[in-house]
Symmetry: C2
């Protein structure tokens, strides 16, 4: 069984796609029974849509793939701590497990909505946190 | 200049479309300079997607219409208090004004994320609250 680091690397690959397109580099994958059933990276600039975060894309793709809108048996991997919007979506999807890389002290859900997730969602923090954070730092340094 | 009641009636019309399709009856419109530039109603069942709330559809439509992703000059009218996810989206869009009808004590953002909105967003509550709430009650009564 592949481990959390393996799938976080997959999420990082998604984040790198965002980086390459000039988007804030956040990536996500949804995994169900050791298979990636949804991928997404931030597309807010390209789609001109504030709702087009990596997690939203990955959740929508996974539900589409499963043919059901609940992700109880799934794990969402995302390179950066989800924002309030995405935490709300993760809750509505009743996501079984959330694994995130870098914390986001400014926009992360833990600050504004610590109880937003579904109570049954297992949360693992800090997987490949340095790599995930470094990509963000590189992006914002480039933009300055 | 049309008033908040006028546009909330438009949001209610959207909610009625949801009701007629067997969706939880929530509707939204985005108004910019006295013109409706985005409409949406809950489509979570039809799209099999937990992110397909009325507000999300309306925000995406409005940004698409404007050609810009920020809604600083706009008002979002929604028949029911937004959830945490939608409040997060309303914040990202820097929505100028939020007007909602019925409160949602169970899933509304005010309980889980009272500070989720952008600090500059003006919030008006309770416009046509009874009509908005009644549609929800009728829907859930029918489903029992």
């Amino acid at each position: 069984m592949a481990d959390d680091t393996f799938y976080m690397k997959q999420a990082l690959m998604e984040a790198q796609k965002a980086f390459a397109s000039g988007e804030v580099p956040v990536g996500a994958v949804v995994v169900c029974r050791d298979r990636i059933i949804g991928r997404g990276h931030n597309l807010t600039e390209m789609l001109n849509d504030v709702t087009a975060h990596a997690e939203m894309q990955a959740i929508t793709a996974a539900a589409n793939n499963l043919g059901g809108k609940y992700l109880n048996e799934c794990t969402l991997y995302v390179t950066v701590e989800p924002c309030v919007m995405c935490a709300g979506a993760i809750a509505w999807a009743q996501t079984g497990k959330l694994v995130f890389g870098a914390a986001d002290d400014k926009r992360g859900y833990q600050k504004y909505a610590p109880d937003a997730l579904h109570p049954k969602t297992v949360v693992i923090k800090g997987v490949l946190a340095d790599e995930c954070a470094q990509l963000m730092k590189d992006f914002f340094k480039k933009r300055r």
